[in-house]
Every structure is written in structure tokens, then in C-alpha cells.
Subunit: 389 residues, 2 copies
């Protein structure tokens, strides 16, 4: 087992009616709230009115920043920071999914950062000091409610940068808020959860028992609950499991005791959605099985890990390890198809024009994947993108 | 899935050499340290000298409180609080196992508590305000390094009270410090870990997938790693797994989404060790299989849970559910025997003289077990104690 440090001080409230604590949580930090949300779905569902009601009851002054993009843009972060200064904001309230909360993490840290927030993003984020951040989640996907990561995009440079900020102070996760999430987004969010686990599970360390159990447990849970949530969007148990799975999947906990990987599919996907603004989970669903096939072919010493994946996640069995390894990958691919996730970049209208640019940019931004679990060169990355056509 | 709140702000450093951060962690809170430890094993292992060296390097002033009992006494808590006041302590440093850290949690909260700390313990603990607490763990057992609980005893009243205080600010868990733990204590600590899981796992809620996976994963991990640690006390991987398992087992995380139980075996064991000062984990190893047999007989509707336990934890199989349920319990009992844990109270020199007193005291202190997973009356509790003879 490898060393690790755990520190997630977030106060995490889970379940139906969890929002009851919101007023007290906000009031703890002051009276001036920056309410941040996305495209307005919270107005359709009534959550917006609930939140405004709670803020009024506590006599909180609310300033709004709406229209956070699905891949949140640095321009929106700058706008939020300016509002925090001009309105003397005490606490930021994120209502939405991972994009909204990521935007808020960057606003909260950027408020104290000396310089332009894109420089902060280029420097890998900032954990020094932050405005208090409370979030109400409406999507099970990124797990940003229970970690310190945020991904910020810059449409001017076609870049998407993963950085480390501060964990939210309070996260409120009510699975009923995800009932209205459309099937396509529910599936994409679940692909994101599964990818978070795969990025940590596929490692050469096998002896970190609890991490193995958590990784396999979350994958099995998504495989069970996603189809249930799709066939009955108001299935509380299915939605609740997906929501808690998503929070833990990206918390770092499933990797404790293992050698950290470079999260290769996320690195490749950030390029894809940086260049084409596609849904993150869709990009991951397309990339992940191709990456698996590629590394299994490139380095057969990883076969035992794929065999374990096939057995413990998919319940497959057999004596031929190589066949079993391939069958596990096929099972994942079939699962993504069964929940109607796109399976090729071609379907998304993406051709091979920028594959080399993307691979080069990945190298420039992240340092590349040549020291990963299975090392990947620029050519390898282009080959994986190509296999996604 | 049931609602839950998670909040463990502890900064948790795990692995070989994790103590490297101790000096900085202590200095964060001030310069005057109360070093608390037990019977002196840390002097034999050299850990004491390491810690004094670290404190000297940081120019910290150290006051010592040694001799914390295996079931920490309120008298020691009072002594610690007095020292914190007289020596103007800034931060408490616990070095040892669960007893030492529990004692420190009560000292840290008792420092600010208005009144006698036994009143605080009788009131269920106190979370209002605490002196900063840093711990260095030398035992994998209670998980006190990653939760807010502490158990304090009072030899004057033969009582042992579980209370909620504040989580440690920093926990340092280096598995190499557990290499020197004797076989009997290693086994008792592991029985404690397993009991923590059983107290949460045996519930009527089955749909909290991640909690099920974590509970079963930790049990399988202890079953695998405890024999390895016993046959080679310096097996890092085995010791590391037991240590991380212990931290998560008692954190509350394995119960998220489930209906809270009353931790019946712990309630019964606290009476046992309150009356007889036996090792907590030994009491649990004797009680747990007897409790299982009793509730399975009393209420056959719990059979499916025992079947799941038999299959997913012990890898047993078969078509006869009742037989399978019993075989799972036998497997647990056999496992405890195989690691040389006492299997009867008689072996410990305990007779039936106080069983009724203990059951009555349990009812007085905790409110009883009549609303538990399977309700237990005073007579039931006496019957379970009697089955342990």
C-alpha cells in the first residue's frame, strides 16, 4: 500500500429534504450571497423559488450569476469574482451540477488570488484562501461536491484545465433534485462516475483492499442503478445510489494506497471537450473502452487487472485470461451502448483534423502520459482518438 | 437509502514516514504541547524519543500525561484538563491507540466544558469547542482517529460511557508503528474492527450499495490480513490494510444510507468491560457470534441478511438459506478461534453474578435495546451473556 493524505472537511448533507439546513448553513458565513447557476433548469423545477424563499426567510441578500456553461468558462469566473467584490459577497451558493460548482470553486479562490484567474488555472489552481462555498447539487456526475478539483475552460485558447482549489464548505445532495435530469445527461453523468473509478482502479497495486472493494462496489452500483434510473426517473433508491457513488468516486478515496495514475481518459477527454465543447461524460464513454483495448494490447502485463475487472465488476468467468480481459472491456462498451450513449466521435460530427493538435496540447498542458500506468506517447494518444472514429 | 450527514474534517496522514509532518502540524496550533500516552510501550519502541526529538526541533514545550488506562478513566481526563489549564496548553498530542485518543478527546472538550467532565460524559459528550488534538496511532482497532466518538470509564460507578466529541484535527497513521503490537492485541483490535462493521452491516436496509460494498470489503480484508499480520508481524501490507480498515470501519461511512442500529454488541460489551475491565475487542469477539445466533433464532425475518453475510463475506454457498445463515456465524466464530481469541467469558474468569446488573445498567445508560434491529429485552440480554459462558 502506498502513502496517502486524506482531507475533505466538507460538511455533506445527503437525502430527501437535506435542503432544510441551507438557511442556517449560509447564515453562518454572513448575509450577502452570490447565487450561481446554469441555464435555468432550476427555475423550471421550482428549486430556484425554494432557494430564494430560504434566503428571504433568513434575510439574506442575494446577487445572481446565471448562465454558467456546461464547460465553465474563465470569462464567467472573472464575472463572478467581480460581483463578489462589487457586492461584498460573504458566501457563494452554487446550485447545479459539476460545472456550476467548478466555476464557483474558481470564483471563491480567485477572489483572493492576486492576478488574473486564468493564471491561477494555469498554475494548477490555488488552495491558499477562498470565500466560503455552499452547494446544492442537481446532478450525479463529477463528484465536485466532495473534492477540491475544478475544471475551467478557455474558449479563446481551446484549453480545459484541471486544478486544485478548496473543497466546498457545505454540500447538500438531495437525490430528488436529479429526478428531472434527462436520460442522456443521466447516462453521461454515470459514465463520468464509472470513468472516475476506472482512472483509479486500473493500477498495478492490488493490495489496497478497501480501495479495490470501493472501486468495484461503485462500478457494480452504477451498472445496477443507472438502468433503473433511466426506466423510472423518479426511482429514489437508484438516484440516491448514483448520487452517493458520484461523490465518493472522485473524492480520491478509491485510490488510497495505490500509485496515482495520470487519469489518462480524463486528460484525453479534456482536449476533446476543450476543442469541441462536447459533454464530458459522453467523451469519456467513447474514450474509455478504446483506451482499455489499447493499453491491454500494448502491455499484456496489465492483463490480471483486466481479469479482475471482468470477474468482480461484470461477474464474468472463464479460464482464458486473455479472453476474459477482452470480455470485460466489451461488457463496459455494451453497457454504454445499452444506455444510449454515443459510441463514436463520428456520431458527434468530430473528424480526425485536430487529433495531433489535441495530443500535443495534452502534452503541453499536463506534461503528457509517458509516465502513466501504461505509458502513452503522442502517437499512442492519436491512435486512441482514431480508434474512437 | 436513508438520509445521512458526513462531516469528518480530520487531516489524515497515512503510511510509512507519515510522522514527518508532525512538527509542522503541532506548530500550527502553538508551542505548548500536552503529550499523552499509555503504559510506556512507546518508550520501548523508540517512538517516544522520535516525538520528543520532533518537538525539540520545533522548539515546542512538552508537558506529559502518561499512564492512560486501556479503558480510560474519568480521573485521568480530569488530570489532563488540570494540566491543560496549569500549563497553558495549545495542542494535545495523543500517542497510542484508541484509549489514549479517547481520553484526549474528552480532555480537549472538557477544557472548555463548564462543570465536571463526568457530567459531560453522562450528557453524551460535547462538540461545542475543543483544544486542538493531533494523534499518532500505534494500534489498528477503534478507529477513534477518524471519528468524533470517545468511550470514557468510571471505576467508581463501574460505568463506561460512549460520547460524541470533536474529531481529531490531525491523525498520523504509520502502519510500521503497529509491527510491535503483540499477537493477542492485534487479534483483539481486528475483532473490534469486524464488530464495528457488523454493528452497521446487520440492518434491514439492503439498497445502500456502497455501504454494503465497504462493509463486506472491510470484513474480507480483515479475514485476509489478520492471519498474515499474526504470522509475520512486520508484513507492511497486512498491517497497512488493517490500519486503514480500522479508520473507516468506525467512521460512520459504512452505515450511510442505512437505518442506524443501536450497536448492540458494543452496548453489551461496554457493560462487560465496565464491570470486569477486560479488553474491548475480546469482549466483542465473545459476544458477537452469540448475539448473531440469538437474533437469528428470535426473528427469522433477518435470515436474508445472514445469507448475504455468508455469501459475500465468507464465500459460502448453498441452497438452504437457514443453513447458510448459520454457517456464516460459525465461520466468524471459527475465525476468532483461529486467531486465538478467547471464546467464552468463563475463560476470562467471569461468571453470571452480574449479568442482570449489567443488563439493567445498559438499559439505564443507553435506554436499552428494545428498539434495535432485532429488539432485545433485559431477559434477552441476560440470555446472550449466559450463552457466552
Amino acid at each position: 500500500m502506498e502513502n496517502f493524505t486524506h482531507c475533505i472537511p466538507t460538511e455533506y448533507h445527503f437525502g430527501k429534504g437535506a435542503i432544510d439546513c441551507l438557511g442556517d448553513c449560509l447564515a453562518r458565513y454572513g448575509s450577502r450571497v452570490l447565487l450561481v447557476y446554469g441555464g435555468g433548469s432550476i427555475k423550471r423545477t421550482g428549486l430556484y423559488d425554494t432557494i430564494i424563499g430560504i434566503c428571504n426567510d433568513k434575510a439574506l441578500t442575494v446577487t445572481e450569476l446565471s448562465g454558467v456553461e456546461p464547460n465553465p468558462q474563465i470569462a464567467t469566473v472573472r464575472k463572478g469574482i467581480a460581483l463578489c467584490h462589487s457586492e461584498s459577497i460573504d458566501v457563494i451558493l452554487s446550485v447545479g451540477g459539476g460545472s456550476t460548482i467548478d466555476c464557483c470553486k474558481a470564483i471563491a479562490a480567485g477572489y483572493y488570488y492576486k492576478g488574473d484567474p486564468w493564471d491561477m488555472a494555469l498554475a494548477g489552481g490555488c488552495q491558499d484562501r477562498s470565500l466560503p462555498l455552499v452547494d446544492v447539487m442537481t446532478l450525479a456526475a463529477t463528484g465536485s461536491e466532495f473534492d477540491a478539483d475544478a475544471v475551467i475552460s478557455n474558449s479563446m485558447t481551446s484549453q480545459k484545465l484541471d486544478g486544485t482549489y478548496r473543497c466546498p464548505d457545505v454540500s447538500i445532495c438531495d437525490p430528488t433534485y436529479t429526478f428531472s435530469v434527462p436520460a442522456s445527461q443521466t447516462a453521461a453523468g454515470s459514465a463520468d462516475i464509472m470513468s472516475h473509478i476506472c482512472e483509479q482502479y486500473f493500477s498495478r497495486v492490488f493490495d489496497s483492499d478497501l480501495s479495490e472493494a470501493i472501486g468495484e462496489g461503485i462500478l457494480r452500483s452504477v451498472i445496477k442503478n443507472l438502468p433503473q434510473a433511466l426506466s423510472d426517473p423518479s426511482d429514489y433508491s437508484a438516484r440516491a445510489n448514483l448520487m452517493w457513488d458520484s461523490s465518493i468516486a472522485c473524492s480520491g478515496i478509491p485510490a488510497y494506497g495505490k500509485i496515482p495514475t495520470l487519469w489518462p481518459c480524463h486528460a484525453m477527454e479534456h482536449e476533446l471537450s476543450g476543442f469541441y465543447n462536447i459533454t464530458h461524460g459522453v467523451g469519456l464513454a467513447i474514450l474509455t473502452p478504446r483506451w482499455m483495448r489499447f493499453i491491454l494490447k500494448k502491455d499484456t502485463s496489465v492483463t490480471p487487472r483486466f481479469v479482475k475487472f471482468a470477474r468482480n465488476v461484470w461477474g464474468l468467468d472463464g479460464n482464458d485470461d486473455e479472453a476474459l480481459a477482452r470480455e470485460g472491456i466489451e461488457a463496459l462498451e455494451d453497457f454504454f451502448s445499452s444506455v444510449n450513449l454515443p459510441s463514436t466521435l463520428t456520431e458527434l460530427g468530430i473528424g480526425n483534423e485536430h487529433f495531433l493538435d489535441m495530443a500535443n496540447d495534452l502534452k503541453e498542458v499536463t506534461g503528457g502520459l509517458e509516465n502513466d500506468y501504461v505509458p502513452l506517447t503522442i502517437d499512442d494518444i492519436v491512435a486512441i482518438y482514431t480508434a474512437c472514429l
